[in-house]
């Protein structure tokens, strides 16, 4: 009986979704390197003159809020999204049916909050199969950037940045506010900003919650732009 009801509700929800599909405020992320679309495994030169090629870019976005010009606020529920450069669908995040109000701000976290990090097995984008969960020390990797650079005197010249941590003083989540430049919610993540702030020859493997991870989390904020 309850199951039947549930099916109806789900069907109803799908119908609603169907009719409003064209008018949903959606965050569209594009991943750039110096204002150009980033391609994996392609070589780029950073402002620090490091030659780099990326093979992974994954990032959690959570607790998305949309602020309108009348100061009302829409907060997405169960708002956890994994952006993965290898999965273009993940870069579009439908949030809420469009209304007549003008959007003044988009607010969200980079990373996963401490509650989700301590609540056991999660589903959806937080599922452990996404490869963004630390095994030996619980918690999510908020941001994963991996690749190669001749500047790194490491095995296979690899660099790995796994930025995370849910316990103070190394709570690596960061909240950011962006003002959309047009009616579309086009957001850019420019990795050139990240690599312009670090010395790859010294800093090339950050894999645990730490002070250094906190610094990189601060730097990661600068990657997010609206143009």
């Amino acid at each position: 009986m309850i199951k039947k009801k549930l099916i109806y509700i789900v069907l109803l929800l799908f119908c609603c979704k169907g009719t409003t599909q064209n008018k949903v405020d959606t965050l569209y992320f594009t991943i750039h390197f110096n204002r150009q679309l980033l391609e994996l495994h392609k070589q780029y030169i950073t402002s620090k003159k490091d030659t780099i090629a990326l093979d992974t870019f994954k990032c959690y976005i959570s607790s998305i809020q949309i602020q309108y010009d009348d100061n009302s606020l829409f907060s997405e529920k169960e708002s956890y999204h994994l952006l993965d450069l290898e999965n273009p669908n993940s870069l579009q995040i439908p949030i809420t049916p469009t209304n007549n109000k003008i959007i003044s701000k988009v607010i969200f976290n980079i990373g996963v909050d401490s509650i989700a990090s301590t609540s056991g097995a999660m589903d959806g984008d937080l599922d452990a199969t996404k490869g963004m969960y630390w095994a030996w020390q619980s918690g999510y990797v908020n941001l994963k950037i991996q690749g190669k650079s001749s500047s790194c005197k490491t095995r296979k010249n690899e660099f790995q940045f796994h930025i995370g941590g849910y316990l103070k003083p190394n709570y690596a989540i960061r909240r950011i506010e962006l003002v959309p430049k047009n009616k579309n919610l086009d957001l850019i993540i420019d990795l050139a900003e990240f690599f312009s702030k670090i010395e790859l020859s010294e800093t090339n493997s950050i894999m645990i919650p730490s002070k250094k991870a906190m610094e990189l989390a601060d730097i990661s904020i600068k990657m997010f732009k609206t143009e």
Binding site: S117, T118, S119, G120, A121, M122, D123, D127, A128, T129, K130, G131, Y133, A135, W136, Q137, S138, G139, S210
Partner: protein, 340 residues
């Protein structure tokens, strides 16, 4: 009209009563807290126990499909007859015969545990299996691939459907099934428990050992779980072949240097060897170690005074520890390898 009303009332009552039963069945409280024990730490609301979930978890526990080359199951390092640890191995070995750096822990009364692993690095029972599955010296597999392998198996698709109402297997459901099995591993029927329930009495020697336990051990190995869930430096010199700094690796705090989880004493007669690196083969050696401590300001206050136990005292204490052996638990058929 009147008769009809009565009929309707009667039918209504029957429906009401049946509904109450429906509710009871779906809320099957399958987890019993032993009398006098604290409430479990695990939040069962997020993962209600069912027989089907338990059986699925049991199957997964014994299935080497979890490892990269299908050679290692959870049971390899967590054998029921030893209190679910790797009996007779100082350090546990996993895939390709690789050896880790720590002695596998027992799996006993984990519903009451707040953190997992010798260093407490894992914060929730549900996510604990990720560590052995993905460790390169244990199962060396990814969660993603475990789910893909299970999804290809018709047997598992059916078992997940029975347990969770979906044959769409996810990492979350795999982990929840594990928890359902492991949570039911409760040891509460040792002689000690029977004595506490006034169903048995200690021998004179056991009673003497119990008093010694209360004086010397009970501040960390707290009844009835026989652990404080805390991390302590128990005075073992560091093994320089590992340089395992314990809890400090997780917290980065100096005071956590050489601190390890206080393990339960339950079933310790069967869970040898002892300590995080399995350095002691017998309980006698363990008791001797603690008896040799004292007057050392690096030790926690519980161990700062010498115990000064005589040889007879040490024997009595070990005899008491044997009253924590729960044979029903160590041989419980519900937890054995599932034959069908």
């Amino acid at each position: 009209m009147r008769f009809n009303l009565r009929n309707i009332l009667f039918i209504g009552l029957v429906v009401f009563i049946s509904l109450a039963f429906v509710k009871k069945l779906s809320n099957d409280v399958y987890f019993e807290v032993p009398k006098g024990w604290p409430e479990p730490h695990y939040n069962f609301k997020n993962n209600p126990l069912t027989e089907e979930g338990f059986q699925l978890g049991r199957r997964l526990f014994y299935d080497p499909i979890l490892s990269r080359d299908s050679t290692i199951s959870c049971e390899n390092c967590h054998i029921q007859a030893s209190g679910y640890t790797h009996i007779d191995h100082e350090l546990s070995h996993g895939i390709d015969g690789k050896i880790g750096t720590r002695n596998s822990m027992t799996l006993i009364n984990l519903a009451w545990s707040k953190s997992f692993m010798w260093d407490g690095g894992v914060n929730h029972l549900d996510v604990q299996p990720i560590a052995p599955i993905t460790s390169s010296v244990e199962m060396d597999e990814t969660m993603d691939n475990v789910v893909k392998k299970l999804q290809r198996s018709e047997k598992y698709r059916n078992l997940f459907f029975k347990a969770f109402g979906t044959s769409e297997i996810t990492g979350q459901l795999v982990l929840k099934a594990f928890s359902q099995f492991v949570l039911k591993i409760v040891s509460s029927n040792s002689k000690y428990d029977k004595v506490m329930r006034n169903e048995a009495t200690f021998t004179q020697q056991e009673q003497k050992g119990y008093e010694l336990y209360k004086t010397n051990c009970a501040s960390c190995h707290i009844e009835p779980l026989f652990t404080s869930e805390k991390f302590e430096n128990n005075g073992l010199p560091i093994d320089t072949t590992f340089n395992d700094i314990g809890r400090m690796k997780i917290t980065n705090k100096k005071e956590d240097y050489l601190r390890f989880k206080v393990p339960t004493l339950r079933n310790s007669h069967f869970s040898f060897p002892f300590m995080h690196d399995g350095r002691f083969k017998t309980l006698t050696e363990v008791v001797k170690h603690y008896n040799s401590l004292g007057n050392d300001k690096n030790l926690p206050k519980q161990l700062s005074k010498p115990m000064n136990m005589s040889d007879n005292d040490r024997v009595d204490l070990v005899v008491f520890l044997n009253t924590l052996t729960d044979m029903d638990f160590l041989s419980d058929k519900r937890f054995k390898y599932p034959i069908k």
